[in-house]
């Protein structure tokens, strides 16, 4: 078990693009294990992206299955992930291991389709929504050198609207 140091902004390394994984070898498995150990050691993070530990390849891990009333595909190790479809948008509150003690509102797609590979190189495809889709979009931003701070919208001006249903 290896818990790695989390890069914290304004560390400029968080701004760099990460490269696609080329080889699904034993070294990759070890690095994924370290990444997961680091996520689990952190304060309640549902996801982590490789660049957050100074590893600049396109790998992320998410697991929103521990949350109540949340649609989830369980724990996912995603290599070279790519969102191929977006639908709808929703406001939500986000925080980040790399930006401690701050949370803010971010607009994300409500539903996405994600293509990726698992740790062994097998192709995967998921339709995701809600909290899980949000987590993916947040982590994927890290692979492109973006933080949720780049997408902040006003805390004050939004009514945090959920879907409006007619009262019966």
């Amino acid at each position: 078990m290896a818990v790695l140091e989390i890069l914290v902004y304004p560390d400029e390394r968080l701004r760099q693009d990460s490269l696609p994984v080329e080889s699904f070898d034993a070294a990759l498995q070890q690095r994924i294990e370290n990444l997961e150990d680091t996520r689990l050691a952190g304060p309640g993070a549902v996801g982590i992206a490789a660049p957050q530990v100074g590893w600049f390849e396109r790998v992320l891990i998410i697991d929103v299955s521990g949350r109540k009333k949340t649609t989830s595909h369980g724990r996912l190790v995603l290599v070279n992930p790519e969102i191929t479809e977006w639908d709808g948008y929703a406001m939500g509150r986000e925080g980040c291991l790399s930006v401690p003690d701050y949370t803010g509102n971010v607009v994300r797609a409500e539903r996405i389709h994600l293509d990726a590979f698992d740790a062994g190189g097998k192709p995967l495809g998921f339709d995701m929504e809600g909290f899980e889709a949000r987590a993916i979009q947040h982590e994927l931003d890290h692979l492109d050198g973006l933080l949720f701070l780049d997408r902040l919208v006003s805390r004050r001006q939004d009514l945090f609207r959920r879907k409006v249903y007619k009262e019966s």
């Binding site: 509150r93 986000e94 925080g95 945090f160």
Partner: protein, 173 residues
């Protein structure tokens, strides 16, 4: 000994208030922490946590030219406050309806009894002068859970007030 202060400044709104206050504080070697600055009615209100090694008398002196020329009321209190480690809100309440006296007291009284610690509250009057509409938004920590909050506030709906209680799910990634 604390070197942090809560500064409150209020005055008629006009361009340049924030720039002049913060420039004077910067020139005096003070450092800003969390701040809230917003127009209320025709006033501009500023509350800020300021760190200063030289004390509140010096802050008064540094701000005096600004408060005099802009006609701002200034109040300074020494506080014990960290710059960080804020609680994370997990509940949001939105209330709106025809404006009437006592609505804030009713909502917040029931919410407090149901365990809500308010972190942020803002209210506004919209609609027309003849039929004003009151809009209240609250964020806080629901120590007894969002369901308890919802149950406590539900009776208000019988009075024709719209009450929406929901969790704030913060995604940490």
């Amino acid at each position: 000994m604390s070197n942090r202060y809560m500064l409150t400044l209020v005055g008629r709104d006009q361009p340049g208030i924030v720039a002049r206050i913060t420039a004077a504080l910067y020139a005096a070697g003070a450092n800003l922490g969390e701040t809230s600055m917003i127009r209320l009615g025709s006033n501009f209100t500023v509350m800020m946590i300021v760190e200063s090694e030289t004390g509140d008398a010096d802050l008064h002196t540094a701000l005096q030219p600004v408060t005099e020329s802009l006609q701002l009321v200034l109040h300074i209190d020494a506080i014990e406050a960290a710059f960080q480690q804020r609680p994370v809100p997990d509940a949001c309440i939105v209330v709106y309806g025809a404006d009437r006296a006592g609505i804030v007291a009713e909502v917040t009284g029931k919410a407090a009894a149901a365990g809500l610690n308010i972190l942020d509250l803002e209210s506004d009057i919209g609609g027309t002068e003849a039929e004003p509409l009151y809009i209240l938004q609250i964020e806080g920590v629901a120590s007894q859970g969002v369901d308890a909050l919802e149950a406590a506030l539900a009776p208000l709906r019988a009075n024709g007030v719209r009450v929406d209680v929901r969790p704030i799910d913060t995604m940490i990634g």
